[in-house]
């Protein structure tokens, strides 16, 4: 049995010996390098482009919007983002001109000598300014998308409620900072079509975008994923842009073009997590029951719509958390500013709204004089109850049990009062806090139906099995987990299964590697396809013929041996796009995270001393890989909570260096203690639910609650920098 075993990572040996091939490890004969010349201004009209002195420009391939064969649109959701600015720019770093040359160093020097002259227009830099609407920079009102959720009668409750607690909460932008920057290698000729190899999460997203950019039929576009050094969402939609740029240069030059961003460029120009502002107004009874929740959730999408409607959707749905409340109103809005467009980053809106919620929950507990955990217990949603967006929770859920386990593992019950006593008059104050949350797995609502994902499994005459899927390995363990799932279904060993390199000329469209869907949704298709393949050999196998021989026999008699499976929605799952209500997700993973911190009052620095992550995930396919996901996600959450801050200056990231954008080193992280509960989900492979994004939701609010406990300050925004702790503590004293 493969499922449940910590089978070693399939490509582990290649990774530890340096043999894995990432895009920058590829070199083609006659290859040129490509770079992007970007807008220095956040908004305005392009007056002129000057090509400076001292560069042999005739040796360069130069591409502008005028060179685009198809549509100058980055095909995603809304047709508002150009591949290359044409007349106007709407954010600093917006691509305007592309250059290619065989000498990479000369190319970079040439880029420095191109000047883009912009006549500036008024620009908008903050979420609040955008909402205010003094300057309209997108559409009629700066709003990319809005959603409304309404259950019960919130206003009637507020009119008579005993206790009302209000609060505003903010989160900042976060840079994914995959250690491998974005990169693509392209070959493109009108007669042959376009082929790109590169770092990416979603080959078919790139495929769709290139088809539109070049106005070519699908069969003429080929996208191949190379080993990818981290994605976290940062390589979900963005790669379509760099792929298109490399391909445009290759198209014009008639030679292969490799484009790999340098770190400063990648940080400044590509997507980041949407900044957010959440306004909570909550009515609660004196004994701590939630009576009404009014939530106003807003995210800053940057200059173009990109994925903001979907980030908003997930953030809005998660904003009321794992609680039951009969009266709920949620307004979600995604707005435009003149920053480089924000985009997918692990969690995708949920970390933002859950931060606000869980910080708010601790404040409500305080207002009604209940402990944070007693207050949660009164309000956790139970199986059979209806969520804020109208989903009846059918799967078993026991948040109280998860909470109990997390508090026990972290020794919360005894540490909390101990710290209260010991904190008086000491220079280093301790605190412990938790967050309770859930994360929906798979695409929201009808998303999976629209994707209609397909997986194919085939076997050779030697009995070697190959899984064909567009879902990618980006470090999370896709290759290994799919091998285990297929092996289980075929009663083989995981080492007998090969996962084909995701190549759109070879693999079917299984949808993107996002939304915590890879293991749960696509892994299920792997299972079904494998089962379907085995069914073709059923009679032969029943006779006791070994697998390999059965394959050979089949192929000799009937030809190619392969089977596919396509996504079918689980029965009874219904989501209404228009009304934004119903079964938002097939299932949820549920969790409680606990953070123990110390705050040094001399330097105001915060240290996370211990971290406990308890979650119910359906089924753990591979314990080492699953724990790795939680540990890594918690580390990113700690970074977001304490260290990672984008310094914005007029819509440009001023700290676009690894020296100045701070992610945790090995010395900054505590031991992260992970515990899994398993309540199998009927429609996941082996019962598994998705977990990739879950850990991102819990760390920041747990830490914020712990810091508030340690210092008495009311944390409302992240990152909680030492500078902000100083300011908050002064406010408390004053």
């Amino acid at each position: 049995m493969s499922i449940g075993q910590s089978v070693v990572r399939k490509e582990g040996r290649a990774k530890v010996t340096g043999q894995s091939r990432y895009v920058d490890d590829l070199f083609l004969p006659g290859m040129l390098h490509g770079v992007t010349v970007r807008s220095p201004s956040p908004r305005g009209r392009i007056r002129a482009v000057h090509y400076g002195e001292g560069i042999p420009w005739d040796e360069f391939t130069v591409v502008t919007a005028a060179d685009i064969p198809g549509a100058n649109i980055v095909a995603l959701i809304t047709d508002d983002q150009p591949y290359l600015a044409d007349g106007y720019v709407n954010h600093t770093e917006e691509p305007v001109v592309l250059l290619a040359h065989p000498d990479h160093a000369l190319l970079r020097e040439a880029r420095r000598r191109v000047t883009i002259e912009i006549e500036p227009h008024p620009a908008v830099f903050t979420l609040e300014d955008s909402l205010r609407g003094t300057d309209i920079i997108w559409g009629g009102d700066n709003i990319f998308r809005s959603y409304q959720v309404a259950r019960g009668d919130v206003d009637a409750v507020f009119a008579t409620a005993d206790v009302i607690v209000e609060g505003d909460y903010e989160t900042g932008a976060q840079e994914q900072l995959y250690i491998e920057p974005n990169g693509m290698l392209a070959v493109a000729r009108a007669e042959d079509g376009v082929t790109v190899w590169g770092s990416m999460q979603c080959p078919y997203y790139v495929h769709k975008a290139l088809a539109r950019l070049f106005n070519l039929p699908d069969a003429k576009i080929r996208v191949v994923q190379m080993e990818t050094g981290g994605g976290f969402g940062g390589k979900e939609e963005y790669p379509s842009i760099i792929a298109g740029h490399a391909a445009l240069l290759a198209w014009k030059a008639g030679r292969p073009v490799k484009m790999v961003y340098d770190r400063a460029e990648d940080m400044a120009a590509t997507t980041k997590r949407h900044p957010s502002r959440t306004r909570h107004r909550t009515a609660v009874s004196r004994d701590g029951r939630l009576l009404a929740m009014d939530i106003d959730f807003a995210i800053d999408g940057g200059a173009y719509s990109t994925l903001s409607p979907v980030v908003l959707s997930r953030g809005t749905i998660h904003s009321a958390g794992p609680y039951f409340c009969p009266n709920v109103r949620i307004r979600g809005r995604a707005v435009a500013t003149n920053a480089p467009p924000h985009g997918a980053f692990r969690g995708f809106g949920a970390p933002q709204s859950i931060f606000a919620l869980e910080r708010h929950m601790d404040r409500i507990a305080q207002a009604v004089d209940l402990s944070p955990d007693d207050f949660r217990r009164v309000n956790f949603i139970q199986t059979g109850q209806t969520s804020a967006v109208g989903q009846v929770i059918r799967d078993p859920v026991d948040m109280s049990a998860l909470l109990a386990r997390a508090l026990e593992m972290s020794d919360y019950r005894s540490k909390r009062p101990t710290f209260d006593r010991s904190n008086a008059g000491v220079a280093v104050k301790h605190g412990i806090g938790f967050a309770a949350f859930m994360h929906g797995a798979g695409f929201t609502g009808s998303g999976e139906d629209h994707l209609a994902s397909v997986v194919t499994v085939e076997a050779s005459a030697e009995g070697r099995v190959r899984v064909l899927t567009s879902c990618t390995e980006i470090g999370q363990g896709t290759n290994t987990v799919f091998s285990q799932i297929a092996a289980e279904a075929l009663q083989l060993d995981a080492s007998d299964i090969e996962i084909a390199q995701p190549d759109t000329s070879v693999v079917p469209n299984s949808g993107p590697t996002v939304a915590s869907r890879t293991c749960m949704v696509v892994g299920k298709l792997v299972e079904l396809a494998a089962v379907n393949l085995r069914a073709k050999l059923h009679d032969t196998l029943e006779q006791g013929v070994p697998f390999a021989a059965a394959c050979r026999q089949y192929i000799e008699q009937q030809g190619a041996l392969r089977a596919s499976a396509q996504y079918q929605p689980p029965p009874g799952v219904r989501w209404d796009d228009e009304r934004f209500e119903g079964d938002a997700y097939g299932t949820y993973a549920w969790a409680v995270y606990v953070a123990e911190v110390s705050v040094d009052i001399t330097t105001f620095q915060i240290r996370v001393d211990d971290f406990v992550a308890v979650q119910e995930v359906g089924r753990v396919i591979n314990p080492v890989l699953a724990s790795g996901q939680i540990e890594g996600g918690v580390a990113q959450g700690i970074g977001w909570a304490l260290f990672e801050q984008v310094a914005w200056r007029e819509g440009r990231m001023a700290n676009a260096q690894m020296t100045n954008y701070i992610i945790p080193t090995s010395m900054d992280l505590p031991p992260i203690r992970v515990h899994f509960e398993e309540r199998p989900y009927a429609h996941g492979p082996g019962g598994a639910k998705g977990i990739g994004e879950l850990p991102m939701d819990g760390a920041a609010p747990a830490i914020a609650n712990a810091v508030s406990h340690a210092t008495g300050v009311d944390v409302r925004r992240i990152p909680i920098t030492p500078e902000s702790v100083l300011d908050l503590m002064e406010t408390v004293r004053a």
């Binding site: 910590s6 070693v8 990572r9 490509e11 582990g12 040996r13 290649a14 990774k15 530890v16 010996t17 340096g18 043999q19 894995s20 091939r21 990432y22 920058d24 490890d25 070199f27 994914q176 900072l177 995959y178 250690i179 491998e180 920057p181 080993e227 990818t228 050094g229 981290g230 994605g231 976290f232 340098d262 770190r263 980006i474 470090g475 999370q476 363990g477 080492v624 890989l625 724990s627 790795g628 540990e631 890594g632 996600g633 918690v634 580390a635 990113q636 260096q657 690894m658 020296t659 992610i663 080193t665 090995s666 010395m667 992280l669 031991p671 992260i672």
Partner: protein, 162 residues
């Protein structure tokens, strides 16, 4: 300015090699482009991430910060030289067994940093492991399984070159 191109000889993974280039050319580029040893990675170009780490005369260095002329006559070990042909170094075995690599981009540098640490300190404490790897950034793992791998590597038999 007169043509500054230099030609230097050094030893890489046990073999003598010659590299010609500008004296200030990065050792990282000499390795990846001139010598086709693409196992050493570029993550930042500013000496922060450690993905470009190699051993130079037995010491861990960031190859993005070493100019070509400073590589003359030295002994370099890259990730390609850590295993002894088919037999992996105990650190590499441990990384595989303990899940120390996820996306793998930081792994070559991380392995070199761990090898360097164990060469200097065969039985490091957990704090010493943390400190020894502090110059190598990982975004995927949260470091936990990397520490476990290094701790386990100390217990096992030694294989490999450096």
């Amino acid at each position: 300015m007169p043509d500054p191109t230099v030609s230097i000889r050094c030893r890489v993974n046990g073999r003598d090699v010659d590299v010609t280039g500008h004296p200030m050319m990065r050792l990282l580029d000499a390795l990846r482009v001139d010598l086709h040893l693409t196992g050493t990675k570029e993550g930042c170009g500013e000496g922060e991430c450690g993905a470009c780490s190699v051993l130079l005369d037995g010491e861990l260095v960031n190859s993005c910060l070493v100019p070509l002329v400073h590589a003359r006559g030295v002994e370099i070990v890259t990730i390609e030289g850590v295993a002894a042909e088919e037999r992996l170094h105990v650190v590499q075995e441990a990384f595989i067994a303990d899940g120390g690599a996820q996306c793998g981009i930081c792994t070559p540098g991380m392995v070199l940093a761990a090898v360097s640490l164990l060469n200097r300190n065969p039985s490091p404490t957990e704090d010493e492991i943390r400190e020894g790897l502090a110059g190598n950034l990982c975004r995927c793992t949260g470091y936990q399984r990397i520490f476990a791998a290094v701790a386990n590597a100390c217990r096992g038999p030694r294989g490999g070159t450096p």
